[in-house]
Structures are given as structure tokens and as C-alpha cells.
Symmetry: D2
Subunit: 363 residues, 4 copies
């Protein structure tokens, strides 16, 4: 089977680099179109990222030879449809600008699977975690119709900070134990801020107890993901109420979350919780999608795990790793959860969404 040619918007940034690295050997998709800021446009990719490539695994020689286009020039992508059946958007510009540009790609018939936050609160745009709300993708026909798009659409993924606890919380809710209140503190990796991102003077012998906009996203996005589609738009869930403390710590990759959780009237036992997490499989697992982790939730018995450096790569860096499940002195339970923020929480999550959307026939 011929691979589907894909484009990457924002190809030179940190997330763009992760997309390229993760797609190196993808069985369905092949990187053939790269776009970035006007500064990089016209250069070969190898020259555009010289001295800025951050990953241990290099891009392929073929990708290095691709000439980078100006991401603002949608007509270029439209003219090269043979290289660009859809795009992953890792755009890193202003919110309004991103929103407009992603819509222009969709209007030009190019589906946009985005990491950017610009469209997360657009009423008819799904925010997908493939194991949790794959049915939200089915708003796409309504989205297309309302906007007069034929092939194009926009689907996005949520903020990286919530990926480590949303899946375990969802699994419990699905099994009949919905969470009502969550207080969570995150210890987040610097790669979440891109490159150059966080200055080293802030991360040597230090942590920073603030990440702009992150707490608001962490508290609101889950409600859309747990929400329903009504009349072609999303309606938020009312629960769980979430309070987030987001901290930046000296870790390259891997966001850790310390979660205290209160259930509704029905309270599972620790054994039930462990069994629910152990057994949980989502649609990506059922379909055996290429980027899906075999087990979306991995529980570690050791009392000092999960740890970012040791656990972030579990399940091809796409699994959530949990540990330290114990009663909470104030709410019902406590646990610690980890996910890889630039794979599961960014490019890997986007690719898994694309695989899902391909399976569903939208790509």
C-alpha cells in the first residue's frame, strides 16, 4: 500500500521535529511537505534546522532534502496536494493568526490535525484523546457542512499537561466511578516550552512554580473532552471540578502529576481501581493502530515510581505510567501519573489521532 503523503506546519520547531522523528518509519504516513516561518522558507530542511535539531534520532536524508515552504502560503500546499494529503499543525504564532491559518488550510481541502491551542475552544472542533473520546471525531461532517468545506476539517489535541491523568480518570468513570473533584500538582518538563524555551538559569538548582495559561487549560479542557455533541457543537461536561498547580522542573521530557481525587457516591476499592486500569483498552488498542501503546495505562509497583527519566518511554512513549495509588487523607484516593509530553502529549498524540481519523475515513 502506498503511504499517505503528509505535511508539517511549523516543521522547524520542537514539536515539528518530533513529528518528523516519529514519522521516520511510519507504516501509513510519509513526510513529504514541510512549512515553517518565512525565515526558513526556501531552505532545505537540513539547512533550516542546522544547529537547532534537538533530538537524539536524526531526520532521514530524504527529509533533509525537502525545501521548506512558507507556512502562511496555503496555495503552495494546495498546489502540492500530491505531497500533502493532510497536515500536522505545530504552528507557533499568535492565537488569532493560527486560527485563521488553520481554517485556510481546511478551506483549501487540506485536513488539519493540530497541536496548537488556537481551536481548542472552537465549538465544532473536536479535542481528541484517541482512547477517551474517539466518537468526538464524528462532529467532522457537521463541521464541514457548517463551514462549507468538502475535504478539509480541523481536529486538535489537548494540552500536554493533562495527558498523564485524563486516561486513568476516564477509565474509572467508564467503569462506573466518575471523579467529581480533583486537585492536581504537575511537575512539567522543559521541552513543553519548546526551544530555546526555559532559560537554564531558571532550571539549575531551581524550579519555577508557574507556567503561563497552563492551569486554566488543565482545568477546562477535560470538560470538553468529557462533553457531548449537541446540535453540531460540543457541550461541556459539568464534572470533574479540577484545580491545578503547574510547576516547571529541570527535566527534559515527561510531565508528572500528583493527583488527589474525590469520587461521587460510588467509591471503588484499591483492588477495583487497579483491575480497571489493568484491563482498560481504548479504540486505538482494539484497532491496533500503529502508534497505539499496547497498554494505555501501566501501573508500577515500586513505591518510588513513576519517574520521568525511567518511565517516559514506556509503551513507545505513548502509555501513561501510574504509581503510588493510596488513600487520600482528604479526598478518596491519591496517585502519581506520568506521560511523555512531546510524544504522547504532542506529536505522538497527533499521529495517533491521524490514524484514528484515517480509520474513520475522514482522511
Amino acid at each position: 500500500m502506498a503511504k499517505i503523503p503528509v505535511g508539517i506546519l511549523g516543521a522547524t520547531g520542537m514539536v515539528g521535529q518530533n513529528y518528523i522523528s516519529l514519522l521516520n518509519k511510519h507504516p501509513w504516513f510519509e513526510v513529504r511537505y514541510l512549512a515553517a516561518s518565512p525565515r526558513s522558507a526556501g531552505k532545505k530542511y537540513r539547512d533550516a534546522v542546522a544547529g537547532r535539531w534537538q533530538l537524539a534520532e536524526d531526520y532521514t536524508p530524504a527529509v533533509g532534502e525537502i525545501t521548506v515552504e512558507d507556512a502562511n502560503d496555503v496555495s503552495k500546499a494546495a498546489a502540492k496536494r500530491g505531497d500533502c494529503a493532510f497536515v500536522f499543525s505545530a504552528l507557533d504564532m499568535g492565537k488569532d493568526e493560527t486560527r485563521t491559518l488553520e481554517e485556510a488550510y481546511a478551506a483549501a481541502g487540506i485536513p488539519v490535525i493540530s497541536n496548537a491551542s488556537a481551536h481548542r475552544w472552537t465549538a465544532d472542533v473536536p479535542v481528541l484523546i484517541a482512547e477517551i473520546n474517539p466518537h468526538h471525531a464524528d462532529i467532522i461532517p457537521a463541521q464541514r457542512k457548517a463551514r462549507g468545506w468538502d475535504r478539509g476539517f480541523i481536529a486538535v489535541k489537548p494540552n500536554c499537561s493533562i495527558q498523564s491523568y485524563m486516561t486513568p480518570v476516564y477509565a474509572l468513570g467508564k467503569a462506573g466511578f466518575p471523579a467529581e473533584r480533583i486537585i492536581v500538582s504537575t511537575l512539567q518538563a522543559v521541552s513543553g516550552a519548546g526551544y530555546p524555551g526555559v532559560p537554564s538559569l531558571d532550571m539549575i538548582d531551581n524550579v519555577v512554580p508557574y507556567i503561563g495559561g497552563e492551569e486554566e487549560k488543565s482545568e477546562m479542557e477535560p470538560l470538553k473532552i468529557f462533553g457531548t455533541i449537541e446540535d453540531g457543537v460540543f457541550k461541556n461536561a459539568a464534572l470533574p471540578k479540577i484545580s491545578a498547580h503547574c510547576n516547571r522542573v529541570p527535566v527534559t521530557d515527561g510531565h508528572l502529576a500528583c493527583v488527589s481525587l474525590e469520587f461521587g457516591p460510588k467509591k471503588p476499592s484499591p483492588e477495583e481501581i487497579r483491575a480497571i486500569w489493568e484491563a482498560f483498552r481504548g479504540l486505538p488498542q482494539e484497532l491496533d493502530l500503529p502508534t497505539a501503546p499496547e497498554r494505555p495505562i501501566i501501573y508500577r509497583e515500586e513505591q518510588n515510581r513513576p519517574q520521568p527519566r525511567k518511565d517516559r518511554d514506556a509503551g513507545k512513549a505513548m502509555a501513561v505510567v501510574i504509581g503510588r495509588l493510596r488513600p487520600c487523607n482528604v479526598f478518596d484516593i491519591r496517585f502519581t501519573a506520568l506521560s511523555h509530553n512531546t510524544v504522547r502529549g504532542a506529536a505522538g498524540g497527533g499521529i495517533l489521532n491521524a490514524e484514528l481519523l484515517k480509520h474513520k475515513g475522514y482522511i
Copy 2:
């Protein structure tokens, strides 16, 4: 006025080193007696810590010349009362062993002001934070009587992990707004584990979401500190209920706490909270004790503070620095608090307690 000669038990360890460094120029106390494990006994202090001294500020030449005694040999200290009017205990041995040994010093007429956890739950031993419960020191006559000690007594300080938020919580309660429930995540410095302590392989590109025994201490010790004396023993307070997540992060000094707090029925406004913290002064401030910070609680306006490296030394490393006061999505308020774990949370706190006990006439 002649200085009071003091001894240090566990003088070669991390906390012992901090005592020595902080007492270098103390106006009331002078280090004259040093005791440690049998391994160090008989050596000059300079030789006993050769290659192990961890602090930027060196010990004085006079301290370097002191011959280290065996801490197990109480009779040595008793015989040298002229050099050892009381001791700071930074013993680092088994709990039972510590308990017994500290009692032996007290029985020998040598007051013990301890950093060790061994006696924190002994019913007639006060756990002091000088700004919060200085009146707890007044159990000492009952303690002496019950045990048949004349001059000796034991007073201890609580775990370093709670020092960053206990004072602000106490200040609010004192002003009429007691906390009922607290969920807190701490990001704790490695110096809390002593030297060699935490391996660097655990702290490079990593955090560890577990510190043995720390969460239990964090949840229980505040209840004794907020408790009352009844019939010569302490009775715990019932509130606040506390749930703690304790994490180790790659920071040398300074424990940071992310606090979500629920008040009782009476809820202060943000302005009231800020005013209460601003105005708060404890007995150490009223008495102008040498080690007391001028302002026990310092609020920073910047949204990305407090930070360990930048704020731990505020108020001679004895103040609590707070920032990010904001409404909590689940409880009433949220804030971030920091204190220096080896100064405020260990040796400095012990010295302040000694100053208080001196003022009260127990030393």
C-alpha cells in the same frame, strides 16, 4: 555578657554542619562541644569533616580544633558541662536509639534541642515552631517533674517539609480563619536527605515522587503543633485535615509547597489574607530574638515566585516566602510557599527554639 557554651550531637553530618555554620557569629551561643559517631570520636573536627564539609561558609578555626567526642558517651558531656550547657541534637541513628540517647542527655542535666524525629510523638515533648506555639514550651516543668529531671529537658522541631506552609496557615487561623482541609504537594530539596543522600542518577533529568515517611509526618505533625496541653501531655487538634504528596526535585536547598486550602464557614477575601500575612509577627519578632526573621512571612508579587534559588535566603533564610495567592477551583484558595529546609527547617529553626527557651528561662 559571656556566651553560653553549646554542644552539637551529630556534628559531622549535614545538619550538624549547618548548626556550626549558623552559630559562627551567634551573639548568645558559642560552639564548644562536638560529638558524633565513634568513627569520628577522637579526631579534631577539621579532620573528621575533611572532604565531607558541604557548606560554602567554612567553620571557624577554633571549631576546627575541637576534638570530637563519641555521642553515645553521655558522661563525657556531663563531665564537660562548662563547654556544654545544652546540646543541639542532629543525631542520625535509629529511632529507638535516638530516643534513649536524647533522654540520657536530659537525665544528665543537659537540655536537648533536637532536630531528630524520635521524640516528636512523645506525649510530653513539645514540637516547636517559635512563631506558632511558643507556649508549648511551658510543658517543660511537667516534663521534668514526670521524669525526675532537674535541669534537663527535651524539645524538638517538626519535619522540614511543613515549615513552608504552617506559619501562613497559622496566621490565618489566628486571625479568625482556620483551615479545615489542605491538599499539598511539596517539591523538596536534596539536602533534606543529608550527605551522600540522594544519588545524582536519581536527580539528573528526573524527579522522584516519593520520600519515605515524609507524607505521614506532614499530615500528623501539624495537629500536635496546633494542639493543646492537657494534664501535662499534648492533645492533638482535630483540624486541619492534610493530604500531602512529597516529591524530591533537583534543588540543593529550599522546599516548595503547592497548597490548596479550604477554610471553615468564615472565608477571608484575598485582600484580608494578604493583610493578615503582611501584619503577622510572632513572639520571636516581638522579642527580637537574634535568629528571628524581621518578617516571618514575605509575599512576592511576581507571578513566577517563590523560587528556591532566588527566595530561600530571604529573611536570613528564616522567612517563609509566599506567592501566587489565587482562588482554588475546588477549595477556597491556592498559593505557593517556600522555606529553606536546612536553615528554617533544621538548624536555624533549632537555634531560634533555643533562643526562645533561653528567653523563657529553661536554658
Copy 3:
């Protein structure tokens, strides 16, 4: 073809863990025998390393089930020859003890391929870097004869600190440009000291300009590797003279070396040097040994490479990565070189030596 069963001495330590991880899918060798200190003996491997396993990649379930033996008990290994055709020694005990124990294994008919430093200066024991002096293995018949061993022998690998520059220096010498004088400063990773190893208090906002014994090894071992066999014992080369400054830096894996080098009268041009390194292949490459990197020396053009985190995994973590070749203001040339200390410099290097010795028929 049935795999050769191998044993690991010191299986629970850092280097032992690396051997197990790297042998997970080895095409020739299979881990079947594990030995460690008496403390671990009798436990299943999974229990023996519970809470101490340091690597991101787990051991296999089969390895987890192996019962650990006492490494001091050679008769156990001798009795289980079917599980232990030869051993990798990652023993971490005193030098004399190691020497004696490794000899006992060899005497019992079990070849010993060792990471320990104990036998590096034994006159008839080869110190092998497979790309440089594979012919030194041919001392084994003389070694066996002199000691009255039939199947057993001892072969070792050099210190990890020299692996990053020995191969490039050798390649130049082989091409007719031998080095006469080298001044090198190394920036070495903490994994080189094992676990717990270097305390985090020494590695946060700090470097340590000293590693016990490392400079002496760095200066002497190359002379044996470049030496010759005469009358069944090794005779050291006279050159190059090496002066080493060894520093510990806050890096998990990957030793970096800053090299200034003076040639003899014949001086290659930069272009010649680059061409020599580019073209260099050793016997492991000719034989296509499973663990051999395709290119033993990789040159990076970027002026800020090699970097430990980005380059240590190049060539299956078995390649040397070089950058910054430039004229030296004092000697002839300068460059920076990197190798992965626990793979190329320890377990991976040992495995490659075993593959070489298997090829040569000694195993």
C-alpha cells in the same frame, strides 16, 4: 543456531544491569546465569534489583526469574556450565579479591571477559578495544599454557574514560600519523561511578574536578593497548605521552573529551584527518559483529557537537562521535570526542570483545 548461555558476575550493579539490558535480544548470547554478592544470593533477580533497577529498558521476564547465585562460589558456576559457557565480570569488590576470583573462574574452565580494572596490568591479560588491538587476543593460548588452564582465560577492557579518543588517535596512527603527546580534559558522566555513586549534592549547580584513580588509568592503559606481545607478555608502547584532567559533570551517560594532540614529524592536513576518520573500519566492522557500530567514528559538522545527550546513542551507543577539529595553538590539532560510557565504555564494549573472541574461536 542455539544461543551460547552466558553468566554475569556482579549482575545487580549498574554495569551488570547494562549487560542484561544489552543482551535482551542478542543473536548469539543468552543470559542464563547471574551471580552477585552474598546479600543477593538466593533471591530471584527481580527481587534482588527491586527498587535498584536504573535503566529505561526493563530486563526480560525470563531473566527476572533467574535465581541469583553467590559470585564467590565458583563451584556453582562450574556445576552449571550448561547455563554459563563464559562470564562477563562486572565485579565491584577489592582489587585483590577480584583478581583472585576472576582467576578462579578461569581455572574452573570458564572464560572471563571483564570490566573490572583488577587484571588490566597483569602481564599476560589482553586489554581489548575490538577496533584497535584485536590481535592482542592471541595471547590467550600463552596465557592458558602459563597458568595451566584449558578452556578458561581472562580478557579485559580498558577504562571508560579513554574510549572516546583512543579510536580516533589509533586511526590516525595506523594511517601514518602517530600521536606523540596528548593533553586531554574529560567531562565524565555520573553513571561511571555506579549507583548510588555520586551524591546529588555534588552534581547540582556544580562539577567535581577529580575522579579517584582515573587520570592514572587514562595515561597508562593506552600504552598497553598500543603495545606489543613479546615472549607471551605485553610490552608497552612508549608513546603517546598523555596528560589527563578528569572531571565529573552532571550528565547521566556519555564521557566527553577535549583533546589537544601533537603528532610526530609527519603532520596530516585537516582534510586528511577527516578522510582517515571517515574511512576507518576495524575488524568488528569487517566481520560485521552484531554489536559493532557500522561506523566506529562519526564526525559531526555542527560547531557545538558532540553533546552527551544528543550524541551518546549514535551507532547503537557504540560509536565515537567527534566534532570541532581545529588547529591547536600549542600542539597540532584539537578536537572534542564523545562515547557512551556504560555501553561502548563498559557492557557494550565487553559484549563486542566476546563476539570477537567467539569469532576467533576462544569461546
Copy 4:
């Protein structure tokens, strides 16, 4: 005595902040004039550095109230001579721009004591290390005359990377043992690159073996400092030849240097070297200048010192700390040296130069 009012150009940057912090309690100088980029001009200093202040010690309230001027507007400074008897230049703009602007200040009658590199190779501008070449300041009359300046002049300090070994090398030369060849590797702190400076992604689990322009400066600037004045311009010394490898490591403050050194025909013994360093005092010590360290060179006996975090603050962060003196296998001796790059190597060094120039009557 009334304090001399001083201005700071580039007051909001990292070096500017250090000047302000170090001058908080200076006995001779008082910060009264602050200038920075147009972006900061017109703001109170407290607002201009809100969220950017990097130091543990805060600026004084009085400094916080100063209105920042545009550094490009020399007439402002000239008009406020009463607040700006001379300036410390911590300008961080292009080289040509800096050169021109510093000359404009000097022409306007305002002496410029600069940290910038722009004028280091100007033939009549002295590059001062107060302990080494204070006599170079005496070119100032010639400089003034040649340029037609009456009060103004320009004096600069060298790159921070050489400060750790220049003083010990000078002390040996002065005692009759000049160095002829030096090969040095530096492990440099991130504060040397300012703020935001080095990205944290480059400094977590990593080092970077390259700092743009640093090696050239390290090799050339010593020759001017050791040079002579002939006909009103500087003539470089011919020796020592220096080869530098400059590396960036995850340390906040403190540059460490690993030095291999070859003397001329006269070779001192280790005892002589130690005695020379111990006895060395420069003009700042003789004059007892306020910022001068009591002992410019401090030797530590411990084999694992100097270390950045433990030794950078020695001698008010103005001393050079040395350790590990030992024979070199290739040259004559080896040692490790450390100095605080933002104090001794930047603002503190500038202040000491100002004190010297004040003493000499040029200010």
C-alpha cells in the same frame, strides 16, 4: 566623605544587575544613574526588571525608584553629571555600536569602565586585572590626549573565562617562573551568557563543548594584559602561547579551568609554587581597596576542590581558588582553578578597576 555618584549602562541585563547588587553598600560609590535599551527607558527600574531580576539579593528601594534612561542618549547622562561621575558599561549590543557609544560617553567627559569586549583590542585602551597590570591604567593620559578628551576615558576588563588562571600564572612569572605554553580546558557557568542565555534543554543531562568567540579571547587577551606600553599604545607579549577548549556546563556561577602549563628553562618546585601563590598580593591588596579580596589566590588542600558551588564565593567572590597542583605528564605542572564569573569576572572586577582608577586619580 560623600559617595561618588555612578551610572550603569545596560542596567537591566545580567551584568548590570550584578553591578547594582554589588554596589548596594559600597563605601565609595553610589548608583544614581541607570540607562538601558529604549524599551526600558522611561520606566522605574523596579518596573523595568520586574520578572527579570535574577539575583538572590534585591536592589535597594532607592535604586528601584530611579527612572531608567535610554543608553543611546549620551546627552542625558552629560546633563546629569551630578548623578553620573562615571559609568560602568554593561552594554549588550553590536560591537561597532558599543564601541561608538562608549567613545561618545568618554567624549562627553564621562569615564567608561567597561565589561564589553568592544574596546579590548583598541590600541590605547587598557585591559585591566587590578592585581596584574594596574600600571596599564597609566596609558589614560595618552589616550585622552590622542582623542582630545579631558575628563573622559575608556578602561575595560578582560573576558571572564581567563580570570581563574591569569592571576596564578602572573604570580609565578613575577617570581621568576614565566609560563611559555598553556593548554587549558574551561568548564564555564551559564550566567556568562546572560539571561535568558543558554536554553535549559542544552543544560539538562548535557554539556555543550563550544562557546562562540570564547577560545579566541582566552588565547589573545592575556598577551595584551602581559604586554607593555610603547609610544602610547599597547604592545602584546609574545608568551605564553595558550590553547583553550571552552565548554558550557550546568552551573549557575563559577568558571573552572583545568590547566597544563610549561615553564621556560627555570622550573619551580611544587613547594615554591605553593609558597609563591600563598604570598602573592597585588596593588589592590596593598591599597586595601574595598572590593579587593584579602588573598587573591586561595589554595585548597582537598583533592576534589575547587568546586563551583562551594568555592566561587571565597574572598567575597573575588578570589581565585586553586587546587590539585600536581606534575603534568606532558608539560611541567597541572592544576585546577576557579573564579566567580559574574563577580570577579564581570561586575566585581569592574568595580575593583574603578577603585584602582579612583586611587590613581583618573576618576
